[in-house]
């Protein structure tokens, strides 16, 4: 991958991308590409908070394209999860083994609802999620 090549010289950070899709009136899916760390985790935080501001109560964080996350990113997820009002949910889509290991080692696999795919995370919006993606 070019991102790896860029990172190997130690000067260029791994490309990071984050985007939000509104699957329906109350569901937002935030997909992340690259590394979630001290520098990029705040973007995830603001995007999640924006979705909550707009009245979206079903949040999905798609980490399928993410390569790494540190304790700061975990802190963002924990903070948002704890600020959810009753009825709101935060689901995580992750099939990456290394990321799953991070969740396991930090004990967060028992905190979040982690699904292997987006469709698993959004059973009620199955069709729309497939269309949107």
């Amino acid at each position: 991958m070019p991102s790896r090549a860029d990172r190997s010289d130690g000067s260029t950070p791994v490309p990071f991308a984050i985007g939000r899709r509104e699957l329906d009136a109350r569901t937002s899916a935030i997909s992340i590409e690259g590394e979630l760390d001290l520098a990029t985790a705040p973007q995830l935080k603001w995007m999640l908070l924006d979705a909550l501001e707009e009245g979206h109560s079903r949040l999905v964080v798609d980490l399928s394209q993410a390569t790494f996350m540190d304790s700061t990113a975990l802190g963002v997820l924990v903070g948002v999860d704890r600020s959810l009002e009753s009825g709101a949910t935060l689901a995580i889509v992750c099939a990456n083994a290394s990321l799953l290991k991070i969740f396991e080692l930090s004990g967060m696999d028992g905190v979040f609802a982690i699904f292997p795919t987006l469709d698993d995370a959004l059973p009620g919006t199955h069709g729309r999620a497939a269309e949107a993606s």
């Binding site: 760390d37 304790s71 700061t72 704890r82 967060m108 696999d109 028992g110």
Partner: protein, 655 residues
């Protein structure tokens, strides 16, 4: 270091001193130049009214005759003159004689010429005496009014009567006398002018006479008095003598005691005074003379600016020194606080070699890591390592809170798992959204057993010291979450038997998340590094080696190393504990945990069911798996800290 810079002059400080010295010297020079400049201005103004000394004799005459009223008495000039020679009396009397002689004695000459001539006779003699002192300019100028230029002194000294005699004949004096007569005639007291015409001159001539009488005694010794007295007397006589004498006396009073200031002489005197000054000042004065006034003002402004800047720089330097001192004090305070959070453990605690180290990240990720290594009363050794999710100064209070809470529970005798669980329940509300990953451990030297409990924190590396040494592989499944995420924690504990030599490494995720190229440093490299360093390595050496191998360290690194002596027997995992409630017991996670611990897959469902039933009765149950060569021996026991959760539930209901 900071103190050293305060005592030893740095190059910048030396340059500052040099600059300030230059500014001071330039200020002093400018101050020295100011009086010289003013003196020069005075000199130029004085030379503007008079001419240079060389050509003074020829030009003082029109200046004096053209502007007699300018010659008002100047005490200074008079003093200078009287101090120098007997010229002033001759000048004063000469002038008095001359001016009044042109006006007042003119009537005398007109009516009783001989007496007037006699009275005026000594004056030229005195004038010649004065001229012998080398001050003849004034006399020359005055005498030209009654005589022809050239050989005047001789004519005066040798022919006094001739002078007086020729005076009436002189057109100038005649004109002046006529003017005085006309003035007296046209004066308001004209009616009485004729009567005193005979007495007036007599009284008026009395003045010159008395002046003459006084002259031999006063003229040379106290020359300045003579004309004044003469004028006074003449004025008094003029007051007594009405009419024609009055204007004449007034005229003489105005003109007689007012000898022209002698700029030429003053200039000569100053130049002689200047000649006595040092050549340096003379040179500077010449330079200053050449500089135009605007440039001089500009230089003064620049000097003032330089002085202001110097003062400002000085103030800044003083302030910088003060700030440096305060910074040192603050650093000392921070050092004390950091020492409270990151204590230096003793090199050995019983049979165990201990070391700890902390390496803050260079960027904004610094702060949040903490550790503690201490001895317990029963000879056990306790270790705490943790990481608060916040960074920087905001993390400090939380790190202290978590560390000392855990330490208190460990010192109170709780097991690591109980300590973490209790701390998690207690600190949940105090951390305010911040969470903390921790590992708490105790080591029993007699049984050579290490027990540790993690809460979202990586398990310690236990590395044997034998030739085929390997690290104990921890079961990471069902790791409890960190303290502060709102979930029950402290549900796991692992006991490791360490029969022989071993290295125990507690660390924070900053170590394994350091970057080597595009990869994480990882636990594999950590193990390799521990191998390389050997059993007696210190935590500081470990972190140093990690920093050398890593390209970037985005987070803090903290590590505690315990070195256990012994033979080559390899460490093994002894006991795995997991506390479960009923739902958790039936979860897939628990099944995976049982499988990881070596429980046969066929037995997993039975164990999970039994745990679920037991937890249903007591709220939670502790699953204890004693590991060995064969399948683990399973024990279910009641959790003795269950009352803590019950109390917390009550509190929640009450709220």
């Amino acid at each position: 270091m900071a103190r050293d810079t305060g005592t030893h002059p740095t190059p910048a400080r030396r340059a500052w001193r040099l600059a300030s010295a230059l500014v001071l010297v330039s200020c002093a020079l400018s101050l020295a130049a100011i009086p010289t400049a003013t003196a020069r201005r005075d000199r130029t103004s004085s030379t503007a009214t008079s001419t240079p000394p060389a050509g003074a004799s020829s030009q003082t005459v029109p200046a004096q005759s053209g502007a007699p009223t300018e010659s008002l008495p100047r005490p200074q000039a008079r003093r200078h003159r009287s101090a120098e020679s007997a010229h002033p009396p001759s000048t004063g009397t000469g002038t008095a004689r001359h001016d009044s002689g042109q006006t007042q004695p003119s009537s005398t000459q007109a009516e009783e010429g001989p007496e007037a001539l006699y009275n005026t006779a000594p004056a030229p003699g005195l004038a010649s005496k004065a001229r012998k002192h080398g001050r003849g300019h004034h006399r020359e100028g005055e005498t030209t009014r009654s005589h022809e230029p050239g050989k005047r002194s001789k004519a005066k000294s040798t022919q006094p009567p001739a002078e007086s005699g020729s005076a009436p004949g002189s057109p100038t004096v005649a004109t002046t006398a006529a003017a005085g007569a006309q003035a007296s005639a046209s004066a308001p007291s004209a009616p009485v002018a004729a009567a005193p015409a005979t007495t007036g001159p007599a009284q008026a001539t009395g003045a010159p006479r008395s002046a003459v009488d006084a002259r031999p005694t006063h003229a040379v010794r106290r020359p300045a008095r003579a004309p004044r007295r003469a004028v006074r007397r003449r004025a008094g006589s003029a007051a007594l003598a009405p009419a024609a004498a009055a204007p004449a006396a007034a005229t003489s009073a105005r003109t007689a005691p007012a000898p022209r200031p002698r700029p030429a002489h003053a200039g000569t005197r100053r130049s002689s005074a200047r000649a006595r000054t040092s050549p340096l000042v003379t040179t500077i004065t010449r330079i200053v003379d050449v500089v135009p006034t605007p440039v001089r003002l500009l230089i003064a402004a620049l000097l003032a600016l330089a002085f202001a800047l110097a003062v400002r720089s000085r103030v800044a330097a003083v302030r910088a020194r003060r700030l440096e001192r305060q910074r040192g004090e603050l650093l000392e305070d921070v050092g004390l606080l950091q020492a409270a959070l990151l204590p230096v453990p003793p090199a050995r605690l019983g049979p165990v070699g201990t070391s700890a180290a902390y390496s803050p990240a260079a960027g904004p990720g610094a702060g949040g890591d903490f550790y503690d290594v201490f001895a317990l009363e029963d000879g056990q050794l306790a270790v705490i390592v943790g990481d608060v999710s916040g960074h920087g100064r905001q993390a400090l209070p939380h790190t202290a809170l978590v560390r000392f809470t855990l330490r208190a529970y460990l010192e109170a005798g709780l097991s690591p798992r109980d300590a973490v669980q209790t701390a998690g329940a207690v600190l949940e509300r105090q951390l305010g959204g911040v969470f903390a990953t921790v590992v708490a451990a105790t080591y029993q030297p007699r049984e050579r057993v290490l027990s540790y409990a993690c809460a979202g924190h990586p398990a310690p590396v236990v590395l044997g010291g034998g030739p085929d040494a390997h690290a104990v592989a921890p079961v990471t499944i069902c790791t409890p979450p960190p303290i502060g995420v709102g979930m029950r924690t402290g549900t796991r504990q692992t006991a490791v038997s360490i029969p022989g030599r071993a290295q125990i490494c507690f660390y924070t995720d900053g170590v394994t998340e350091a970057r080597v190229g595009s990869e994480l440093f990882g636990s594999r490299r950590l193990l390799d590094t521990l191998h390389e360093l050997g059993p007696r390595a210190s935590a500081a050496a470990l972190l140093e080696r990690v920093a050398e191998r890593a390209d970037a360290r985005p987070d803090d690194m903290a590590a505690c190393l315990l070195g256990v002596e012994g033979d080559d027997a390899a460490p093994t995992a002894l006991v795995e504990e997991l506390e479960l409630d009923r739902d958790e017991a039936a979860s897939d996670r628990t099944a995976r945990f049982l499988l990881a611990c070596g429980v046969e897959r066929a037995d997993v469902a039975d164990v999970a069911h039994a745990a679920s039933v037991a937890a249903g009765r007591a709220g939670t149950v502790v699953l204890e798996l004693r590991l060995g060569d064969g399948p683990p021996r399973l024990t279910l026991r009641r959790e003795h800290l269950a009352y803590l959760h019950a109390r917390r539930a009550d509190v929640g209901a009450a709220l």
